[in-house]
């Protein structure tokens, strides 16, 4: 874990005091809402349908047990006993009161956390692979890069008023688990032929109303050039990005309208200038960051405890099959704790559940936790021999759902149950789908399937890059749900295609049943996933299943 130095500590504390004063002035009437709104947004405080919402940054999704406990304490003391983990690896509280927000921020500062730059047109919380530092397919931990970028971008005077928000993600593994190509800047750690470390730099990715797959602008950027290069990208964007139209203000539109080659030439020219004045990151900054993410001291003793337990517990077997991933140390495994219990709100954890997760991290997991963009919690370093004990405690807490990567592991944004921007609800749709397919007992048979639901065009629920995406809109005064097919969130990112007209709220579940039923009918065998079948046959058979009446008409 990165530990705050005196500078970080003072900066965060000062910001709390500053915002406390701003809140007091708003309440006294000294500040109008127009004056106050940009200030509260800079501190992660939104106003939603039923209450304020505080978005707390979880840098690159990494937490320790003490921090998770504090999140639980905040949920109990100032909220309604739960929190919502988001697709940007953050946590949101849905019920803070304005006059208590500064106290919440004070409590966060006590554990080296804050809500700075979780909103506004600045560089947002840098995200990373949630298996960082643990995964067998990783060649370099992306978190030192993410932490360096956090320090560089926090309160960066030049990049505090960008044309629009700016999101950066980093991955250092063979498989992209951080949706890198859907970010304003995406970084893949790479090694060149000489074995030197560097980055493939991707720009102009994003979802929202104009979904775009990020384009590679640098195949290999030497590591030492990262900050001057990103500075060059941001300087060009800051100057040339459109400020006349909010919907065209992201860097993806600049890439599209300018063309990658022309924009790259501008960035390269700016980079020469930035690099000339860049003196490098001093060792006094780099060394503590590198040290903070050194791997834990692993306990390599093996035992047959897991194998013994597996032989008499089919539920444990099923959970082990779906929720564990390969660790770089063979004595260890990565545990993904599902926050998608059937019938529950995707991404929500109660304060009790947070405390259980904190305790498991402390007792078995080298005090590390991660939040995934898929709205689950990761225990990245669990000894295989400890799995039966970990599983038993998760089960007691209602956290042992065996569904990672399966149909009911659904991403869903808060939608119109909470969000002021939403055009329809997401949570009830996610719940309905999970409950229905649980009744049908088909989830295991269906196999790997990514369903992602957004309650508006802004696409917080990543619906474009789902195998089956659902977008909630308003149509003629009622909620309407559009289905997209064939999206892919990995390094081979694909934006899904809209299947056809939307479905009313009471039609979306039957439509999903027809769609998935069609897949089961037409797949070659049960090893062919939904996405593979879609790629083999195209969208025609799926459209036919979704719109049977239309098909009948066409046939007549």
């Amino acid at each position: 874990m990165y530990i705050y130095n005196d500078f970080d500590e003072e900066f965060v504390r000062n910001r709390v005091d500053q915002f406390r004063d701003q809140i007091n002035r708003r309440i006294s009437g000294a500040l109008t809402e127009d004056e106050f709104k940009p200030l509260r947004l800079m501190n992660g405080l939104y106003l939603q349908l039923h209450a304020y919402m505080l978005r707390v940054a979880v840098p690159y999704g990494t937490l320790n047990g003490r921090q998770m406990r504090q999140l639980a304490y905040i949920a109990d003391r100032w909220d309604k006993g739960y929190g919502h983990f988001t697709t940007r690896q953050n946590i949101q509280y849905n019920w803070p009161k304005l006059n208590e927000v500064a106290d919440i921020l004070e409590a966060l500062a006590d554990v080296e956390m804050h809500a700075i730059q979780t909103s506004g047109n600045c560089i947002r919380n840098v995200t990373a692979d949630h298996f960082a530092g643990a995964s067998a397919d990783e060649f370099e931990d992306p978190r030192p890069t993410a932490e360096l970028l956090r320090q560089w971008s926090t309160d960066h005077p030049e990049f505090t008023y960008l044309p629009r928000k700016f999101k950066i993600a980093v991955s250092g593994a063979a498989h992209d688990r951080a949706v890198v190509r859907a970010h304003d800047i995406g970084l893949y750690l790479r090694r060149n032929d000489a074995g030197e470390a560097g980055y493939e730099v991707v720009i102009g990715g994003g979802l929202g109303r104009t979904p775009m797959v990020g384009k590679t602008v640098q195949e290999f950027l030497p590591k030492a050039d990262l900050l001057p290069y990103l500075e060059a990208v941001l300087k060009v964007y800051n100057l040339k990005g459109r400020r006349d139209n909010k919907y065209k203000a992201r860097i993806k539109i600049l890439v599209q309208e300018t063309g990658l080659d022309v924009l790259k030439a501008r960035i390269d020219a700016q980079f020469v200038i930035c690099k000339a004045s860049f003196k490098g990151v001093p060792d006094s900054i780099l060394a503590p960051i590198e040290a903070a993410f050194a791997p834990p001291v692993f306990n390599n003793t093996r035992s047959a405890a897991l194998d013994d337990a597996l032989s008499n517990d089919p539920l444990l077997q099923s959970w082990v099959d779906t929720n564990l991933a390969a660790h770089k140390n063979p004595a260890y495994t990565i545990v993904t704790v599902s926050l998608k219990a059937v019938g529950q709100t995707p991404g929500d954890a109660s304060s009790d559940q947070m405390r259980v997760l904190a305790a498991l991290a402390e007792d078995f997991g080298h005090d590390e936790l991660r939040v995934s963009h898929e709205q689950n919690i990761i225990l990245p370093h669990i000894r295989r021999a400890d799995i039966p004990q970990v599983y038993a405690r998760l089960r007691e807490a209602g956290l042992a759902t065996a569904n990672i990567g399966l149909l009911s592991d659904i991403i869903a944004c808060p939608g119109m149950d909470y969000c002021a921007l939403a055009t329809a609800r997401s949570i009830p749709v996610a719940k309905e789908i999970a409950v229905r397919f649980n009744e049908l007992k088909l989830e295991q048979d269906i196999g790997p399937l990514k369903i992602k639901i957004s309650g508006c065009i802004n696409a917080c629920g990543h619906h474009h890059v789902a195998h089956i995406g659902i977008l909630g809109l308003e149509k003629k005064g009622v909620e309407s749900y559009q289905i997209t097919l064939g999206g892919d969130a990995t390094q081979n990112m694909v934006v899904g295609k809209r299947a056809g007209p939307g479905f009313a709220a009471d039609e979306i579940l039957p439509a999903m049943e027809r769609l998935i039923g069609a897949y089961l009918d037409i797949r070659e065998d049960n090893s062919e996933t939904f996405l593979d079948t879609f790629r083999r046959l195209g969208d025609a058979p799926f459209k036919a299943a979704l719109y049977p009446v239309e098909e009948a008409k066409n046939a007549a």
Binding site: I27, G29, E33, Q48, H50, K80, K97, D417, I427
Partner: protein
């Protein structure tokens, strides 16, 4: 042809709790949607909203709303996943 004016209510969010609130006939704010004054005339609705917006130390972002729209129904009741919004009161 001008669109027919749909009767509207004035709703806002409370400054401290952020809770949805409704302007009543008496000119006060209520947390209950059913207490909302119904405005059948566009001109009166606009002037009433302008007056309401002067009370900026009480609430945030007052607007004219069609009370029958599903968004307003959700705001009036609370979220559907937990019964601890207005439903709990």
């Amino acid at each position: 042809m001008a669109r027919e004016f749909v009767p509207q209510i004035i709703t806002s969010n409370h400054l401290i709790e952020g809770d949805s609130i409704y302007l009543t006939e008496a000119g006060a704010w209520s947390r209950i949607a059913a207490d909302a004054m119904l405005l059948a005339n566009a001109e009166i609705a606009a002037t009433t909203l302008a007056t309401a917006n002067l009370q900026t130390d009480l609430h945030v972002g007052a607007y004219l709303a069609d009370a029958t729209h599903f968004r307003e129904t959700f705001r009036a009741v609370g979220p559907s996943n937990y019964f601890h919004g207005k439903q709990a009161v």
